[in-house]
Amino acid sequence: MDAVERHTWVVSRTVLLVEDDDRVRRALRLALEDEGFAVDEAATGEDGLQRVTASQPDVVLLDVMLPDTDGFSVCRQLRRISDVPVIMVTARTDSHDVVAGLEAGADDYVTKPLVAKELSARIRALLRRAATAGENGHPHRRIAAGELVIEPDEGLVTRDGEPLALTRTEFRLLVELATAEGRVRSREQLLDTVWGYGYFGDSRIVDVHVARLRAKVERDPAHPRHVITARGLGYRLAV
């Protein structure tokens, strides 16, 4: 991948770095800028939330350990004001941190020590699907699944005519299941198509996102009628 292609591809893509360690923030900024991103910085959770509204970043990189408050609650607050893709940065891969981050609304996670090259691959995966959702589909497509109506090109999903507020990743996951037309999609397939993991990723990402999706589209998330678990295989959307 040469530098010219990188730069043309991610023109004006802005990453907001929320990280309390000054040196890490500077090093990541330099490396991400080298990868062709524009970088905005915040040292505290408070500051980070303000920047999200002020500078409308394309993606947020959020450290779990912050001085004023932990990354999970920042993520929850952020979700109330924006559907921007969020990547959690954890120092540990312990179940607790990863699942807590995803449940707080993060779209993906990376662990330290993180290298800008891998990081930019993850960011691109998040941004690419955000773009394909609008560009690549058939025009004016509508998918109906019971009381749900999904319009991939509009980025819209309604239940009995009421629009539902999904994040971009949740929406993309729903569209991916909807286009399978009732067939089962394995966790690995979903990780590949929705998150861009060519190689096996962490299937907890899928499970937590499915849980979040159910909380929004199902009337009774404990007894889902739309997003169905196919035991040992994956998930499918009942149409």
Binding site: L28, P113, V115, A116, F200
Partner: protein, 465 residues
Amino acid sequence: MKTRRVREHARRGLWRHLRVGLRDRVILLFGLLGLVLTAALALTVWLLVSRYLVNQRMNTVVDEARFNAVSVQSGLGQYGLSVPEVMDRLATSRSSFALLNTDGEWYASAPRQGPRSLPSDLVKLVHSGVPATQRVDVEGQLLIAVGLPLDRSGDAYFELFQLDDLNRALSILSLTLVGAALAVSVVAMAFGRVVTRLALRPLAELTSVASAVARGDLGARLHGEDDPDLGGLARSFNHTADLLQRRVAADIRFAGDVSHELRTPLTTMLNSLELVQHRREELPGSVREPLDLLSEDLRRFSRLVVDLIDISRYDGQPAGEREEVRVVDLVRAAADATAGRPVTAVDPAAKDLVVHADKRRLERVVANLVENAELHGGGCLRVCVDAEVESVRIAVEDAGPGVPIEQRDRIFERFARTGPRRVGGVGLGLAIVASHVSWHGGRIWVEDREGGGARFVVSLPAEEV
């Protein structure tokens, strides 16, 4: 200390030799004690009762004999009856018979009895005018002989009493006493059993709690800290367990803190260096070699930190999340991605095999083995997945120098250095593999590949879907 232990050992030698446990010993002792006490009691009872019964009987028979003697005397003297008439009128019971010695002749109330049945000492004593009683043994039967001199000199009346009923009563009594003694010792053993169970219950609880702690359940505690006898033990055990739990928690926290503290500066270093590497061409030639060295070792250092944190985190973590993983898919994805080219060869029979695995750990196993083959085995030749009986075999083959037999176990130890072949990475990769494989209930070994090189084989329990 040592001598005490030796003596202790000698004292317990017999029990230990017989392999009798504490509980059985107590039960036996209880039984023995019961037996000894009741036997002594039974013996005393028997002696007293038999003496009393015999004395009582003596008095009765002497009275009866005296009455009969008077009646004989009066019959012969006052009424002038003949001897047979007198004998017929005697009030002898079924268990006694009379002998009369008058005018030098002997008369008996029963045909088979005669003066021979009487001891001669008794006869002599009675003839000398002294009434006497003696126990005699006639043909194995114990009898009481009572002799009374009559008024006419030379005449004497004897009566022999059978003691059958008394003997029967005494033998019933002794049987009863022996039975009671045995019953009491059985009851004592049962009591001993109950008592030892009660007494050993805290020990059983201690055993189960201690083994729970050993299994990794550090929250297990003994009850009964307020028990006056066992409180000390319970308190000191619980205290020790508290310390252990706190220590383990501190270790885990420490590993987490170290993780964060080391990963954060590593992030700075890796990213800054990556940037410099991108600008490599702009740098003077003399700087490029040290830059490469720095960059390579920084990557090694980073890998070491991640491995160390990984291995310390999984240490002492018996449980984990498992899911059904199609092993072929996982091996193919992990192996091909690590090698950067297709290396996986699949036995068709293994296609549908599923392993209950922690996916990330199993990926790590495959990735580390392939990486090991790439770095130290002259490149990974292929990764085979084969179906076995209720298991799956993953074999990673390389064309390197192989692993000498004497190092085949050591190679899976942490920081193992395999001779002159000082591995470029660090000695944790294979140790992590071994620990993850055993966590999944599998086995790992290394063998020679036909045609040179090494084959690392992982065998995991698997099932068909």
